[in-house]
Amino acid sequence: MLHRVGLRALVAYALLLALLRLSGKRLVSECTPADLMMSLFLGDMIDDYLWADVPPMQFFVAATTVVLTHLLVTFGRGVWPRFERLVEGAPIVAMRGGRPALEQLRGERISRFDLAAALRSCGLTRHRWSEVRAAYIENDGSTSSLPWPNDEPARRSDAPRAARLRAREARRDSSAGQGPIPPVAG
């Protein structure tokens, strides 16, 4: 009896591995509604097979159907934007121009406290909300925030320009008789 359970576990493992490889990377890395669904389904259907509550064929058909349906749905959302919007929804605008987008948030039942928590996950406290040019709650439930141009992270290529500007400022100041300004990063 026991060795049969072990054998079924092996078969189920192999089948699920094959089906997951077939369904692509998205299931692993992202968690949009359709992806979440498929994980729930597959995880749940396996146990009845392990305990021999259903015949192998039925498990095989059910698992394959789930994956095929999922493939169809993911294929559909790739080629047909309206279908994608239907199954995945659209990202919610949470902040716009430094202010909470209250109407959209209310529509998704996201309170100010939820919003604050979402922005905290981006490292932003309430008193810095005005620094957020736009923030979105993405389809997978994560938060992204975009800063104003001036608050973007500095890039290495910004350094030469900054040095030129500082040098110009220093020249101007020395010609005004105030003496050169020591370099900032000294």
């Binding site: 509604p33 979440l36 389904f41 059910a62 929804g89 309170s111 928590a117 320009r161 500007l165």
Partner: protein, 186 residues
């Protein structure tokens, strides 16, 4: 027949998860996770025909309705949210661990340091505030001196960088904002 039932229950679950909103997917509170598992646990009986489709659909719809009501109540009433979801807990303040908050969440100092490492913070002193959120993740807000460099810091006199962050001063060319990023009219 198994295949048909599987497709039907897949479609039903997709609708339910979509309607229940972003909260069901990304920011799992303890209870959201429980509900997802609960819904996941009934699909196999439906797919294999152990229960009738009507019976299964009723369970799914009732659980989904309860979850919807829960989310609505948490949104409408702060006190209800505290009871139903719990509240975020401060675990670090001004570079020092908050022993009381950590004790309430049964977090040891090494748990806290592990969370910080995961977020790329190696020095406790950099942290102005760390919060254990209701979904179990930790958000970290750094002191201003510990934040990464921004364009603003490099060249304060740069005329191109002179916007102070108010919406009116962002030039048209920088409009990668809400509507545009969502595919709307620019």
């Amino acid at each position: 027949m198994t295949a048909l039932r599987t497709i039907a229950v897949y479609a039903l679950m997709l609708v339910v998860i979509r309607v229940s909103g972003k909260r069901a997917i990304g920011n799992f509170t303890a209870f959201d996770l429980l509900v997802a598992l609960m819904l996941g646990e009934v699909v196999d009986e439906i797919a294999y025909g152990d229960v009738s489709f009507a019976q299964g659909a009723t369970v799914i719809l009732v659980v989904a309705a309860l979850q919807y009501g829960n989310a609505w109540l948490s949104f409408a009433h702060r006190g209800a949210a505290r009871i139903l979801e719990g509240s975020p807990r401060i675990i670090i303040r001004d570079g020092a661990m908050e022993k009381q908050g950590m004790r309430k969440e049964r977090m040891s100092p090494s748990d806290v340091m592990a969370e910080l490492r995961g977020l790329g913070v190696s020095d406790l002193r950099e942290v102005k505030l760390a919060v254990l959120e209701v979904d179990g993740r930790v958000s970290v807000i750094k002191h201003e001196w510990a934040e990464s460099l921004r364009k603003r810091d490099l060249a304060s006199t740069d005329p191109d960088n002179a916007t102070d962050g108010s919406a009116a001063e962002v030039p048209e060319s920088h409009r990668t904002d809400a509507e545009w990023a969502l595919g709307g009219r620019a």
